[in-house]
């Protein structure tokens, strides 16, 4: 469950975060303003508040059932993905924006000299280079996301933290269970960090 949460919200936040980053550098002032406001607001609210709101606010008041009005477990899972993606997107956006800043000015200038418009400059020239240079920071965001999925326990999604909570309340070997779950997280995050670290070195734009 933890892995599923991580994968789905990771993909979601990557897409939404890229859109936000594009908005923040776009020529339309209103979109720039929206991107900045979104990032500043979402980054300063605790993830727990966002997750609890998706359940109590979005589902109960606004009737957002994510296509699963009867299946409570599935609905909780999808809401958690929505909350996690919305929160993580703000961090993805910030990472990408700093990546865009590392792309040399000449690249964008050359692209403009060829007559490409903003969308083309961004999607063909700048973003591909920016992505390669921010794999390291994005890996950090992904690892943070893996750990953040435990917050979904707050709305009863049966992921690692909730399982651990139930198990240590019912079983006698508290230490053993704690160690197993802790080890599980080390196993999840360690290879991710190592692999993406290797990947970022491999793909780094040589300058």
């Amino acid at each position: 469950m933890t892995v599923k949460l991580t994968v789905f919200s990771g993909v979601g936040s990557l897409v939404w975060g890229t859109l936000l980053a594009a908005m923040r550098v776009s020529p339309v002032p209103l979109m720039r303003w929206f991107g900045t406001a979104y990032v500043n607001i979402v980054r300063n609210i605790p993830l727990t508040v966002i997750i609890v709101f998706t359940s109590l606010g979005l589902a109960d008041i606004f009737g957002v059932t994510m296509g699963a009005p009867d299946d409570f477990a599935l609905q909780g899972f999808r809401l958690a993905v929505l909350g996690l993606a919305a929160y993580t997107a703000a961090f993805v956006c910030e990472a990408l924006r700093s990546g865009i800043n590392t792309v040399p000015v000449g690249q964008a200038e050359a692209a403009r000299a060829l007559g490409l418009n903003f969308t083309q400059v961004l999607s063909l020239i700048v973003l591909p280079q920016a992505f390669r240079s921010v794999i390291g920071p994005l890996a950090n965001v992904l690892i943070a996301l893996t750990k953040n999925t435990t917050v979904a326990a707050a709305i009863g999604v049966a992921e690692a933290a909730l399982l651990m909570k139930e198990m240590i309340e019912n079983e006698a070997q508290t230490l053993l269970i704690g160690a197993v779950f802790a080890f599980g997280f080390v196993v999840l995050t360690l290879p991710t960090g190592l692999f993406l670290g290797w990947l970022s070195k491999r793909l780094a734009v040589k300058r």
Partner: protein
């Protein structure tokens, strides 16, 4: 307004930008209208639900005690975690392998585990092996979880702060005959602490946000938890969420602005070595990056 990413808008581009703005506003307005309609339908806009926030009672019985608990847990965690983190961070830089390796294992281990698990685990330990009254237990568990996690993050901040200083500082210390501990105490640490200040303030934001975990799962009566009690009383789910979110945003925005003000000020000042650890470094450190290639302020 110019940017390297696009040309200065000509007449056509200006028109296109206006059209895009209008479309964007329309989309935003549509979403806002939907939010407004549903809130209206469910009666969440009724003045009766918002009125409690204009009266002192809702604040003094629910929100303020919650906020005080949030701040109390955050402050306690910070105060305990700082010295622990400093010791661990310096231990990781030790010349002796038997000090360096255990400290490294402890730091990497606690950074890799979610804070929530540390809190849950601490809570269970307290239930089983201590007789802390059950009213105080959530606070103890939350603070323990936060301390364990943040001490390791702070250890990394301390380490990065010391490493970010120019090598010549330590070498100069040895050259005039200071011992290792003297060099650390009177040359490296004072400079590293100034370099670390913005990073430490940014970490405080993370701690404040993480206290909410205890409210959701351990029944610790902090801001988020008080919101639940308040909403149960006045049936104002959405208004209470908005008010609580605004409180968090204001609180964290003040801390973030303070951190970036400190960072700018330290970067500008001529004294010191110009080594500063900023907010971005904190984001990196919180992710428990394995392999340790985080940037330090010195090379930015």
């Amino acid at each position: 307004m110019t940017s390297v990413l696009y040309d200065a808008p000509g007449p056509r581009a200006k028109r296109r930008n206006v059209i895009l703005s209008v479309v964007f506003i329309a989309a935003l307005a549509l979403v806002l209208w939907w939010v407004y309609r549903t809130m209206d339908e469910k009666g969440q806009l009724d003045w009766a639900l918002w009125k409690p926030f204009t009266e002192s009672q809702a604040w003094t019985t629910y929100l303020l005690p919650g906020l005080v608990n949030t701040l109390k847990a955050a402050a306690l965690a910070m105060i305990i975690a700082l010295p622990l983190g400093a010791v661990l961070g310096i231990a990781r830089l030790s010349d002796h392998r038997w000090v360096r390796v255990p400290a490294g294992i402890v730091v990497e281990f606690f950074r890799a585990i979610p804070v929530l698990m540390l809190m849950l685990f601490a809570n269970e330990i307290y239930v089983r092996s201590t007789d802390i009254p059950s009213d105080d237990r959530p606070l103890y568990a939350v603070v323990t979880g936060l301390v364990l996690y943040n001490a390791s993050v702070l250890a990394e901040i301390v380490r990065a702060g010391i490493v970010s200083l120019p090598k010549g500082q330590a070498e100069a210390g040895y050259a005039i005959g200071l011992r290792k501990s003297q060099t650390m105490k009177s040359i490296l640490l004072p400079q590293a602490v100034t370099a670390m200040l913005p990073a430490i303030v940014s970490q405080l934001v993370v701690i404040v946000k993480d206290t909410a975990l205890g409210g959701a799962l351990l029944n610790f009566t902090e801001l988020l938890n008080s919101r639940g009690t308040l909403a149960a009383n006045y049936a104002n789910v959405v208004p209470s969420f908005i008010v609580v979110a605004v409180i968090y945003i204001v609180l964290n925005f003040i801390l973030t602005s303070f951190a970036s003000w400190l960072e700018k000020r330290l970067r500008r000042s001529k004294r010191g070595t110009g080594a500063v650890l900023g907010a971005e470094d904190v984001d990196d450190l919180n992710a428990a990056e394995v392999g340790g290639t985080f940037g330090t302020g010195a090379d930015k």
